[in-house]
Symmetry: C2
Subunit: 589 residues, 2 copies
């Protein structure tokens, strides 16, 4: 179909265009027929312009205009005019003008969409995902993807201007030891063999450092075949970064520069650097989380010293078992009812706490079920430590250290919500969390796992502890936290083949297994690996936060459901038996 | 290991740094021990700097310096000095200075590499691919990947500044009808079902147009499970582009703007636009190829009119069978020996020609085995048509049109090589090839196939021919050719659901099959699809040409072999039986 190419987009015309003959192409967003005059709000990605079909102006166009319905695609030709006084639409950037139509061409018709193409709709997410191509027409969704586009450009421009090289790493790679979560791809040319899709380009980026590329970055798709949780996707996007001949400080500086760009370009905020830092231990003690939301206070206080001589059995046991007693002061919540306190007690019990100790702070006293077990000194010191005042409410939890702190961390967030501390006025807050443990002990399998991944370097001063007391070894690892979300994580890597071998050994990865899975990396390390380190951002989550959304699906063009289905095209799908035969596989009955 | 972070890179120091105390980190490229003084050429991505260990300057450093070997990674501290007169190295940018070493730290040792880290090596490609991380250290290889990096940035900057939106499309998608070449990914969560890896984001980008994104681009990995040919890779990179409300002219203008940027930024050439265009028919007639190299002339001439009344049976038959008689004039080659002519005859016979007609152009005559079959008028007209002069050599081929033209096209390239017409002085030449046939007839299966893909729009004036004479229908398709390489191809798409259905029908894709495979696209078209079209560049090949290389493997960081093997990590590889069980598949015996 021949049609006139637009002279302007639907977001472009202003009063200085009045009198001009123009061509617009777009979708019928809204159609109104007022006493024989047809008003169409014509929409494209750039905006909305009102076009007018008036029988006395052009009766042919007006006649054809009667056929228009929502989402028809049209090309119109007409003259820009000033809108009659009183009919301006200040909510449109083009709202002072409209276009009197001389000529209309219907480029395509449209069935009635399953939901209206507007920002506020009440269609279910499943319906929106099935008709994602229509959902993507909604201006808010387009705005989010435009933001994502902008973030790509900011990222690449920043790294390019800092001498980083963008390098594409393979998508068809070798299955790794964390292979249980690998997506596999059967090879047709090599019978019985499989490629794996990368969970991250970790080994490749380390090889690039061995190759001397010095500074690498890539915005890259990664894949993880997990049992889906609410906000996970089988494929996701990372900003992947690696640098040579650096220490943590150099890397932090580079990343802080990137965050400055994002804050400036997206939120128009001048970010002050350096970004504050907190060790993992401190983060757990003060916020009960390794990704604390520090936009508000409500800090936890470790109270072991207050109760070090306590006769109260619960505290006594806890302290002698290397446990923790942690407190949280809810200012002005002393009037919480017994019922409210029961709800909160249930909240922590569901997270695994044995129970919740609460105390109402009264003038010169603490009102609490356990008050009778505490000495006057303990009460006084407690009030002093947590800076309690009359009318406050105090929560205490005790038990196994990490677990208890973590539960109190959840209660902290819950109380922040209840107390209205989390609101849109809060200034965004970034935080580095550092000095993670190198290993995590797994009670079930009775062995250590790498808290980050097996290439993470221990702190140099902790290397001697690796064999004597692995649990005490801190890693040169770091996470970047934004508003309580982990947006990036990384580490300085091991660049020494011997230290790497020791690490595999401690993780129970046998020499044979290490050789089979990572032999090429270990070999590479024999030919002069430089000191190096890096970091990777979860790009989808970052875009979600900058867009002010609560699901990463909102900032992905074609997301899958939490079980990995694409409702739009019904994938994954059945394939022909002949295809499987070519791939040398068959379905398991 | 603690070490001093570099103050400068190895490519940075100049005479104005003389006297400065500096720290350099890098690899030992060359080590020379001259009368007790050790000279090290220290290398990093940015260049090479000579550092000097002199016993009288610092005996400790000198002593340790004796241990250095090729590819050791070191950190040195020292003072920049002017090189003694006569020892400057003009081939290095840092060649007027060197650094007297005060302190040396060996950051990592290196075994002797399997091949030297320098540009000219004679290691086999297999060995280089196995140790790709060392191959990537060679300055020329790094240069190629830096060029590729630059091309990414040029591309994105260009499209961003032209209001294109970068959108990521899924990698885990639905298998398509060309599915035989799909890589499949078994689903763990959905038993017996499979994702496919995209051969291109074609359907997604068309959906994005239906969504109104108007201008889309992406640099994106694509996958094709082909029987490997010399320069194919199972995964490759595309620049993918789609636009709405446009015709071919708009798209050409945008793409020509991109090529201007590339030519300017990479080759420092001001590209003149518009880029010349040639229809598929003309390209075949003049160059015997749909991707002609027009950097040199040597054009073919169709001679049917010369021989329209010929009594020579070969020509007569050919003309009556709708065949072609095509000629190629090799200027000044009239002295080719009988032996040379036999070799050339063999060349075309191997390509499927029945034989080759050659004629030596003599003064007022043609000397040729077939001369006796030609009338004087035919000889005269022939000489006139091909502009032959004494001393020239003339080749004629006749037979089935496309096949014969194509063989002559190969001979044209062969003769261009023999005549020395292809050399590095040639100016690069771009060309649009347009008006491709919509369908290709397959003699074997006796049916039509889409020459591009089933979404390509026919020329509007040809739509009536679709049923009456499909072979005559021209497509609104176009390829962009650079120096005889197809670097991009695209088309204006069908945006009408009915026309698309007709197209599927003509291609023998049943309604059920079309619905199952493309139902979501057909559905999307019911809700107001705009006119749209696009193009995709083969990024690897483009980078190869700009880098002046002859294999795409040279411009990929971690390429696979022609059979899809990664020699570095031995993938594809065996996986555990338990992994297959989880994926509900088993190996076929």
């Amino acid at each position: 179909m021949k049609f006139n190419i637009r002279t302007h987009t639907c977001g472009e015309l202003r009063e200085n265009n009045i009198g001009t003959q123009v061509v617009l192409n777009g979708w019928v967003a809204i159609r109104r027929d007022l006493g024989g005059v047809i008003f169409i709000e014509l929409r494209d990605r750039y905006g909305i312009t009102q076009v007018v079909f008036e029988p006395s102006y052009n009766s042919t166009a007006h006649e054809l205009g009667k056929k228009l319905r929502s989402e028809f695609v049209i090309s119109i030709e007409g003259k820009v005019r000033k809108r009659p006084a009183g009919t301006e639409n200040p909510s449109l950037e083009t709202g002072n003008i409209d276009v009197m139509v001389d000529k209309l061409l219907i480029l395509n018709q449209s069935e009635t969409p399953p939901f209206p193409i507007e920002n506020k709709i009440d269609a279910s997410e499943d319906l929106r995902l099935k008709y994602r191509y229509l959902d993507l027409r909604r201006p808010d969704v387009q705005k989010d993807l435009l933001l994502r586009h902008k973030m790509y450009q900011i990222t690449r421009k920043y790294f390019d201007s800092n001498s980083f090289i963008e390098i594409e790493t393979p998508v068809l790679m070798k299955s790794t030891p964390e292979g249980a979560r690998d997506f596999l791809v059967p090879s047709r040319l090599h019978k019985g063999k499989f490629y794996a899709l990368p969970q991250s380009p970790q080994t490749y980026k380390q090889l690039l450092m061995v190759s001397g590329f010095d500074r690498y970055f890539q915005i890259v798709k990664c894949f993880r075949d997990e049992d889906m949780r609410a906000d996970r996707q089988p494929e996701f996007t990372q900003i992947d970064i690696e640098m040579s001949f650096i220490d943590m400080e150099n890397l932090f500086e580079i990343i802080e520069g990137l965050m400055k760009e994002f804050f400036k370009e997206i939120w128009n905020i001048e970010l002050t650097t350096p970004i504050p830092r907190l060790s993992f231990d401190k983060a757990m003690e003060k916020y009960g989380s390794d990704k604390p939301d520090i936009r508000f206070g409500l800090e936890m206080v470790t109270l072991n010293s207050v109760f070090k001589n306590s006769d109260f059995r619960v505290f006594k046991d806890s302290i002698s078992n290397n446990g923790v007693i942690t407190g949280l002061l809810a200012k002005g919540c002393g009037d919480y009812t017994r019922n409210q306190l029961d709800v909160i007690t249930d909240f922590v019990k569901k997270l695994g706490a044995g129970g919740l100790i609460w105390m109402r702070v009264k003038e010169n006293d603490l009102e609490a079920p356990i008050a009778k077990f505490l000495s006057d000194d303990e009460k006084k010191n407690l009030i002093h430590e947590v800076k309690a005042e009359t009318g406050d409410l105090l929560f205490l939890l005790t038990g196994n250290k990490l677990k208890t702190l973590s539960i109190m961390g959840s209660l902290r967030l819950e109380m922040a919500k209840r107390m209205g501390l989390i609101n849109s006025d809060l200034k965004p807050a970034l935080l580095w969390v550092t000095d993670f443990p190198l290993f995590e002990w797994d009670e079930e399998t009775k062995r250590f796992y790498a808290m980050h991944h097996p290439f993470t370097s221990p702190r140099i001063e902790d290397i001697p502890l690796m064999e004597s007391d692995p649990g005490k070894v801190k890693a040169r690892a770091y996470d970047l936290i934004l508003n309580g979300n982990e947006i990036a994580g990384g580490s300085i890597r091991i660049h020494d083949a011997n230290l790497q071998a020791k690490m595999f050994n401690l993780l129970g990865i046998s020499e044979t297994e290490a050789k089979e899975k990572f032999g090429f990396l270990m070999n590479a390390f024999k030919f002069g690996a430089p000191p190096h380190g890096g970091i990777a951002f979860g790009f989808d989550r970052l875009a979600m936060i900058f867009a002010g959304r609560s699901s990463i699906r909102d900032v992905m063009a074609f997301p899958k459901t939490s079980s990995g289905l694409s409702l739009m095209d019904d994938s994954p799908a059945n394939v022909d038996e002949s295809q499987l035969t070519e791939l040398h596989i068959r379905l398991k009955k």
